[in-house]
Amino acid sequence: MDDFAEEETEFVVEEVTTLVKECVEKIVGRETFQRQKCELYVHRIAEACISALARLNKPFKYIVTVEVAQNDGCGRHGAFANLWDAGRDKCCNVIWKNDVVLCIVTVIGLHI
């Protein structure tokens, strides 16, 4: 009973990762890289992720950043530093790619 109640108020990284991958798969899927559609992908993926996270009904504020790039092997490096509640606040990074498109979604969940 306690575990069930805890999961309802926890940021579960696996759950969020699966959710994000489903959103990206649905929107980008098997499409080839089209420069003019990039901005559209970014907006749609971000909207879809935020809506799906809101439907989880957990007491979190969410920040979703989406990077869509051509998958041509160029370098990308990232880091982050936080001042937050180390026990409850979490971040998850999801990398989705096919032959031509690279999509990196970062979800930051902050407990309220």
């Binding site: 890289f33 990039c38 993926i45 920040i63 990232g78 880091a79 530093a81 001042l83």
Partner: protein, 115 residues
């Protein structure tokens, strides 16, 4: 213990944080060449530096998240977007980019009020 505080006494100030971002990125990136091995540590330095300076501004009851990304420039297309589910009255963010011939660095600072 409840303080009955409804709003931050010192809200997240965008202008002050942008100055910090600009200064830190200029200091760390102005003389740097793109090196894949050195980039992760460079990103980490930038984020820690920004976090310490923003923390020193003492924004009342704010959680601070700093992210830094460095992208190698290889004539590829890149788009970045952001969506948030937060309190638009008290929460905010600032982002700053720094571009050279070899790379683009993008740093964001998010200030999230904790009731």
């Amino acid at each position: 213990m409840s303080t009955y505080q409804l709003a931050p006494r010192r809200p997240f100030n965008i202008e002050q944080v942008i100055k910090i971002l600009h200064e830190v990125m200029e200091t760390h990136l102005s003389t740097v060449k793109y090196e894949p091995a050195a980039c992760p540590q460079l990103c980490a330095h930038i984020t820690r530096n920004v976090r310490e300076k923003v923390k020193a501004m003492n924004f009342d009851r704010y959680k601070i998240v700093v992210t830094c990304s460095i992208f190698q420039k290889e004539n590829q297309g890149l788009h970045v977007g952001l969506r948030c589910l937060w309190d638009p009255q008290h929460d905010n963010y600032v982002s700053e980019s720094y571009e050279t011939t070899q790379f683009i660095a993008l740093t964001c600072v998010y200030g999230i009020y904790h009731d």
